[in-house]
């Protein structure tokens, strides 16, 4: 009998993504070999291949960390003295494009493979409603549509292109708060301007530009989605939002009224409710304990104060 794990490889859908991922790993390995060396080419590729073949769910993240390590230290030996000296004009390099594209392709293939054979959605059924037979959902192979892989490649290509644009924007722009707008395209790095304090350092410039870029995109898209959501609210959701807002505004006053009601009416008692089903309330014992802790803390505080004042 064929083991179940091997059966997964026979599924054409899973096999397609498996082959795709392995091909991407091969490209990554080749690029790293050209950039760094044999170790840099082998270790991340081995991690990625393990993730693909054994479906270990932590492997993509381990792969990214390993890859970033070998990109920062191509020879595997930490060397912080190396600096980034070719920042200008470093966009649209073939090796970078190949590396980034293949990494994205590997990640996309890996996660789609996980969806097909491991878990495709979180298992978020309330625990009280769960049954023993419930399992994490897995995407069936027949759900794969024609042209899905092609669309995946198109998305990856778009992402690589956007990444290059972002890098161009970040690497070719300097920030000068004395001007308006505070950006200017500078094709040549001018250390004298930095020395004079006219502009920010390249690291902080990149950081500010990246953070600003991400914030603008996220804010604009989030705002649009939020507006869309408000436009398409269902009646119950709208009512709930209004109710919740009103309750939040008037909560303290309403709470006061409830206290008055509780004072006015006889306290609720459970006439027939057996004690065994009542949940234990926080009683007087805990309150006394809290008071004792409070007093002890105060005494301690006072002793410290006294000790502090009494020091000569």
């Amino acid at each position: 009998m064929t083991p179940p794990r091997l059966n997964e490889f026979r599924d054409p859908a899973a096999r397609n993504y498996l082959v795709l991922g392995l091909a991407a790993v091969l490209v990554i390995s080749a690029v790293l070999f050209v950039q760094g060396g044999l170790i840099a080419a082998i270790i991340p590729a081995a991690v990625a291949a393990l993730g693909l073949l054994l479906r270990w769910t932590a492997m993509p993240i381990v792969f990214l960390v390993t890859l970033s390590y070998f990109l920062v230290f191509p020879y595997g030996i930490p060397d912080l003295s190396r600096r980034f000296d070719d920042i200008y004009g470093s966009h649209l390099r073939v090796l970078d494009i190949a590396l980034v594209g293949s990494v994205l392709a590997y990640l996309a293939a890996q996660y789609r493979l996980y969806s097909l054979v491991h878990q495709s959605m979180p298992f978020d059924m309330p625990s009280r409603l769960r049954k023993k037979s419930d399992r994490s959902p897995v995407r069936p192979g027949e759900n794969i549509a024609d042209g899905e892989v092609g669309r995946m490649f198109a998305t990856i290509g778009l992402c690589v292109f956007l990444g290059q644009i972002a890098w161009f924007f970040v690497s070719e722009t300097t920030i000068n708060f004395l001007n308006f707008p505070p950006f200017e395209i500078s094709h040549v790095y001018d250390p004298i301007r930095l020395w004079r304090g006219v502009g920010l350092s390249p690291e902080y410039t990149r950081f500010l530009l990246t953070a600003g870029l991400c914030a603008v995109v996220a804010f604009a898209f989030g705002l649009a989605l939020r507006y869309w959501r408000l436009v398409r609210l269902s009646r119950d959701e709208a009512r709930m939002i209004l109710l919740d807002t009103e309750w939040s505004d008037a909560r303290r006053e309403l709470n006061r009224q409830e206290k008055w009601r509780a004072w006015a009416l006889p306290k609720f008692k459970l006439p027939n409710a057996p004690k065994s089903i009542r949940t234990a309330k926080v009683g007087c014992g805990k309150g006394c304990l809290i008071l004792l802790v409070g007093i002890a803390a105060c005494v301690l505080f006072w002793c410290v104060l006294y000790r502090f004042i009494g020091l000569k």
Partner: protein, 640 residues
């Protein structure tokens, strides 16, 4: 909603970006990070747009099929198919959707889910089979839809609420079917008419006897008179219409039990069998469903529509859930919150149903500690009196040293004066912060969310939300109603702390007696009243029923009481001696068994005095046995 997978990937991408910005020696790391973020962003944008353009435009259509036909109600004991058709009227395609129909509680089915690619205008079908063992009500809440992208980065769950209830009618019983299939008569009597071995004005010959003065001449049997040489007259059978009225106990106590095997369900099952068998004999059958408060009467009739109506009444009665009565509100919240999470995810979400931090803070002004805090706060006011100042000064002198500077002594004095204030602040803080700790915070959170949900469902005001938080009885009643509406069974505590049965209902005896008396008032002679009721717990309170039964007997009617009998309780007390070292569980069980047996004996002896017959049916007792008893009690020669 981000999944764990995408959250970790975003963190990894941010890490790559930071490394790329500050420490990288080439553009690759930065490009990797920003491209990864772009991939996540594009995936999310596609997912969000598709979801928004589709989610609120999905239509659900549900039908039940039995024997390949669409039916408005199903029969118990027969498999039926649930077919749910989902059609998207949105303008986008959802490539990966998991649809899961929510079957009624206590029904397990393995294939009620389907993964599909939901396209606009293309109906998709989820089909599965169910089988109900007993009569009752099936409630389908709707369809749970789970949407995800192809890589499992983003996920959303929502529920298409289409609540609908179907009746599960009692089965067309075997007993009835067999009964109807056996030909017992060469000619059937007229509908509703039974021949009695009593002289009357019927059409069938009963006997011949000597002529008595006053006998009508037309009754003289001339041939027999000629043979015997004396006047002989014919006696004809009596034609008596027999009506059978069923009384079904739907009180709270009868509803307790396993979902499809509670006494009420079993009684409804047998009552349906009896009704159908009686109707097969072309008897007129009526039904009265009674509980602790009222009786619902269906007047006796004979038509097929009437029979279907009666079966529906029986199914509705069998579908009643037990009312747990006053219950711990926290227990109710623990049951109601998962249901609300499952069925109303968009109304439980934090974005619309908030839980502000102030909600969890416990104000000290609500407790007695407030007096202590007040006292501590006002303690420095003692300094307004000279004695207070003297005490502080003496304390400073005692605790300090003469060599200290005045500033240092002033600091010490301030410390002494501020000590009560600090203590008060500490008590206030520790008292308030307890609300943030589990399990109190969990309880408060659930109560608030459920309260807001209930207020929204009832179109209530914000004051109701606060009342649900503060008023246990108010919350308990609404949560119980919520769970009952969604047909969720709560764990029932049968006995209170004193060992008394919590679901004993004396009121139902009075309701039953009134219904019986009313039925007798509208009856003719020779009617049969069959009472399906669990009376063992109220054996000492049967006076009203005894009086009503006597009235019925006085009008020449018959009363038969059928008491449900638990399957695991022996009919007679065990004669075996108790084993030494018996466990508590078996001891309690033996006490309960003895109570049941005593109760039945008491009911039988009490009702026997009024002329009523009391029988019990064990689990699985066929309808035929009941019919035989009915026939015996009626004393008619329906079957020769």
């Amino acid at each position: 909603m981000l999944t764990a997978r995408s959250t970790i990937l975003i963190l990894a991408a941010v890490f790559l970006l930071i490394v790329g910005v500050f420490y990288a020696v080439s553009a690759s790391v930065y490009l990797l990070g920003i491209s990864l973020l772009a991939l996540l962003f594009i995936e999310y944008a596609i997912f969000a747009v598709r979801y928004r353009r589709t989610a609120d435009r999905i239509e659900v259509n549900r039908v039940l099929l039995q024997s390949g036909r669409v039916v408005p109600a199903v029969w118990a004991g027969t498999k039926f198919t649930v077919r749910v058709t989902i059609t998207s009227h949105g303008s986008a395609r959802l490539p990966y959707v998991l649809l899961e129909d929510r079957p009624p509680e206590a029904y397990t089915t393995s294939d009620n889910a389907r993964t599909l690619d939901l396209r606009p205008g293309v109906p998709e079908v989820v089909e599965y089979e169910l089988q109900s063992q007993g009569p009752g009500i099936l409630r389908f809440e709707g369809v749970q839809v789970r949407v995800s992208d192809l890589m499992g980065f983003f996920y959303h769950r929502f529920f298409l609420r289409e609540p609908v209830e179907y009746l599960v009618l009692p089965p067309l019983t075997d007993g009835e079917g067999k009964h109807r299939g056996i030909k017992r008569f060469n000619s059937l009597p007229p509908p509703g008419v039974h021949r009695l071995r009593r002289a009357g004005s019927g059409s069938e010959l009963l006997d011949l006897r000597d002529y008595r003065a006053g006998d009508p001449p037309k009754m003289i049997a001339w041939k027999a008179s000629a043979r015997r040489d004396k006047l002989i007259v014919k006696e004809l059978e009596n034609d008596v219409p027999v009506r059978c009225v069923l009384f079904l106990d739907a009180s709270n106590g009868a509803r307790i039990g396993p979902p499809e095997n509670s006494p009420l369900v079993r009684m409804a099952d047998v009552a349906a069998g009896v009704a159908q068998a009686a109707a097969a004999d072309r008897d007129i059958v009526g039904l009265t469903v009674f509980d602790d408060e009222a009786a619902e009467v269906t007047q006796p009739a004979r038509t097929r529509i009437h029979m279907i109506r009666m079966l529906r009444k029986l199914a509705e009665a069998a579908g009643r859930l037990p009312d747990p009565g006053p219950t711990d509100p926290d227990l109710l919240a623990r049951y109601a919150h998962p249901v609300a999470q499952h069925l109303y995810p968009e109304l439980i979400a934090r974005s619309v149903n908030s839980r502000p931090l102030g909600l969890f803070w416990i104000p000290i002004a609500d407790s007695r500690w407030f007096l202590l805090v007040l006292a501590l706060l006002f303690a420095p006011a003692l300094l307004f009196r000279s004695e207070g100042i003297e005490i502080v000064a003496q304390a400073v002198t005692t605790l300090g040293e003469p060599s200290w500077s005045p500033f240092r002594k002033l600091l010490l004095a301030i410390g002494i004066v501020a000590f009560p204030l600090i203590l008060a602040g500490l008590i206030w803080f520790l008292h308030g912060v307890r609300g943030f700790l589990a399990p109190r915070s969990v309880r408060t959170s659930k109560r608030k969310q459920l309260g807001a949900l209930f207020a929204t469902m009832d179109s209530d005001t914000p004051a109701a939300v606060e009342r649900y938080l503060a008023d246990d009885s108010f919350f308990g009643a609404r949560a119980t109603r919520f769970l009952t509406e969604h047909r969720v069974r709560l764990p029932l505590i049968l006995h209170d702390a004193n060992g008394q049965y919590r679901f004993r209902s004396e009121a139902k005896v009075a309701v039953l007696a009134n219904a019986l008396t009313r039925a007798v008032g509208r009856a003719r002679d020779n009617e049969l009243y069959v009472i399906f009721a669990d009376l063992t717990e109220v054996a000492d309170s049967l006076e009203p029923l005894i009086k009503a039964a006597k009235v019925a007997r006085a009008r020449h009617n018959r009363v038969l009481v059928i008491i449900p009998w638990p399957a695991d309780v022996p009919v007679e007390p065990s004669l075996e001696p108790e084993k030494p070292g018996v466990k508590l569980g078996s001891l309690v069980r033996s006490v309960l068994v003895a109570r049941q047996q005593r109760g039945f004996k008491a009911v039988r002896s009490a009702l026997a005095k009024s002329g009523a017959s009391v029988v019990r049916f064990e689990d699985g007792d066929p309808v035929q046995l009941v019919l035989d008893r009915l026939d015996r009690i009626r004393g008619v020669r329906v079957r020769r």
